[in-house]
């Protein structure tokens, strides 16, 4: 997974052609850390069709707020730079729900 930050977000996500999934996380977020192995497995599976990025919100607080990310874990899904779907909060961000969005996106 590609680590992006406030400097690279625009180029890697908003200006990227095709499908991008962005995993917003922080080192304090236990549910985020628990999801990571499953997300990495999905990145390996869908890697050719979907670009996977992650953002550490602690170092990119403004970027998070700018994307209206105010709770963790959050997943945003982009197509050609446009946000097309979102999962926010630990109840919403189940591996099944994430994979369902990826299938729609791929």
């Amino acid at each position: 997974m590609l680590e992006v930050n406030k400097e690279t977000f625009e180029a890697e996500v908003l200006k990227a052609a095709g499908a991008v999934a962005v995993d917003w996380w922080s080192p304090q977020c236990e549910p985020c850390k628990e999801l990571l192995p499953e997300v990495e497995a999905m990145a390996a599976k869908y890697g050719a069709a979907i670009k996977f990025c992650k953002v550490n919100v602690i170092e990119n607080r403004r970027l998070a707020l700018g994307n209206k990310v105010l709770g963790l874990p959050t997943f945003l899904f982009f197509k050609d730079g446009q946000k097309v779907a979102e999962l926010a909060g630990p109840e919403a961000c189940t591996p099944e729900a994430i994979e369902a969005e990826l299938k729609k996106l791929a």
Binding site: E30, C32, E34, I58, L70, G71, A88, G89, E91
Partner: protein
């Protein structure tokens, strides 16, 4: 981690399956493994459950001041060290009624165990007000450790006044400009323990709105304000805020148990015997926040787990004893339900032995201590000691209780035919 896909499908059932990897489930697994039970621990997400998202833990004996994630990591290492099989799966269906309990997971695995400890915990209760759902993860949060960072130098409200609400409010003051507690009760009354209340009152960043509830959370994309209603005057007011943290108790994770036959109370908590953690179903025990109990803490969850595992071990030993001594023998079995407290039952034991010798030893005698095996007595409808049940090939074919004056005759009468049946 156990690789279930490589497991032989004909493998023997586990002795013990623990559903839920919070403090209760992990302690049950530790006690299970130490009692040499073949133990499987199923956790759907993060080991530690709710404790893993609690920042400050100051009441776990011996640890002084620690954090939930750190303590739960230690629990987990302890479980791993003892060789417990652990899988990350979500249980969707259970069949707990039979002698072999069947657990089905979302990924389609079918797991079998002889005893089950149900410890799935609970999750935060939601307010159920307008705006809460759409703004979840957009300023509405149920996890301070997850989301506190977003609110650095911002203003938030905390709903609730119990231990969790007060402790998380104190934690949030490390980040936020102000934390306003919305409390149901009149001024000066909170549900939290006294020590936490005093720390909150001494914290200059914490403010209070008393005797009020949130009626609506407003915001375009992110939380902007809450509508408050004063319970005394009925007056409504709108208060600007950047975040709403909700700590108003929990809801048990028992949806997957609906229809399983396991007794739940109207709120969905499991009703279990507080002495032994036994549920209404044989071989099924409950532990931790999921059961009806008075105090929900890491330490009481761990206590439940220890008791449940020991009770499960005792249950398995009894079942094994029953199978070996009563149900599986080829010859007819005279099962004497006795108790050390009943003089008459000691006589009956002696008479049974003599009568059996006189009958050429054609019976097998089984002694069942009613005091130790109350559950077995209940299963076979034994209400008094002494009672004698005659089993053939695992089935009760006759019983004698109350009057034992003709006991020897009763045995002699059954000797010829039953021995023939038995052989």
């Amino acid at each position: 981690m156990a690789d279930l896909h490589n497991q032989n499908p004909a493998a023997a059932p586990y002795d013990l399956i623990v559903i839920g990897g919070g403090p209760a489930g992990m302690t049950a697994a530790i006690y299970g493994a130490r009692a040499k039970m073949r133990t499987l621990l199923i956790e759907k997400a993060k080991h530690g459950g709710q404790a893993a998202t609690t920042e400050e833990v100051e009441n776990w004996p011996g640890s002084g001041k620690t954090t939930g994630p750190e303590l739960m990591q230690q629990f987990r290492k302890h479980v791993e060290h003892l060789g417990v099989d652990m899988i990350k799966e979500d249980v969707v269906r259970v069949d707990l009624q039979g002698e072999i309990k069947v657990i089905e997971t979302r990924k389609g695995n079918r797991l079998e165990g002889r005893a089950v400890i149900v410890a799935p915990g609970a999750h935060p209760r939601t307010l159920g007000v307008k705006g809460e759902g759409p703004l979840r993860g957009k300023g509405v949060s149920y996890c301070a450790t997850c989301d506190a960072d977003f609110f650095t130098e911002l203003d938030v409200v905390v709903v609730g006044s119990g231990d969790a609400a007060v402790e998380e409010a104190i934690y949030l003051t490390k980040f936020c400009e102000s934390v306003t507690m919305i409390v149901l009760h009149p001024e000066g009354t909170m549900d939290a323990n006294r020590a936490s209340q005093e720390r909150a009152y001494a914290n200059p960043k914490i403010k209070y709105v008393w005797q009020s509830v949130i009626e609506e959370i407003k915001g375009d994309g992110i939380v902007e304000s809450v509508v408050l209603k004063h319970l005394g005057t009925g007056e409504r007011s709108e208060m600007p805020t950047n975040g709403v943290f909700v700590f108003i108790g929990t809801v048990p994770n028992t949806e997957f148990l609906q229809g399983s036959g396991l007794a739940l109370n109207p709120q969905g908590y499991i009703v279990a015997d507080p002495e032994t953690m036994a549920t209404n179903l044989d071989g099924v025990f409950a532990a931790g926040d999921v059961r009806v109990k008075w105090l929900r803490q890491i330490v009481t969850a761990a206590s439940d787990g220890a008791i449940a595992a020991c009770a499960a071990e005792k249950y398995l030993a009894e079942e094994e004893h029953l199978r070996h001594e009563v149900l599986e023998p080829k010859e007819p079995v005279l099962a004497v339900f006795w108790s050390p407290a009943s003089r008459q039952s000691l006589d009956v034991l002696a008479w049974a032995e003599q009568a059996n010798t006189a009958a050429g030893g054609c019976f097998k005698l089984a002694r069942i201590d009613l005091y130790k095996s109350g559950r077995l007595a209940q299963r076979y409808g034994v209400r008094q000691v002494p009672s004698v049940l005659l089993f053939i090939h695992g089935e009760v074919v006759d019983r004698l209780e109350g009057n034992f004056d003709d006991f020897t005759h009763w045995i002699t009468e059954r000797t010829v035919c039953d021995c023939q049946v038995g052989r």
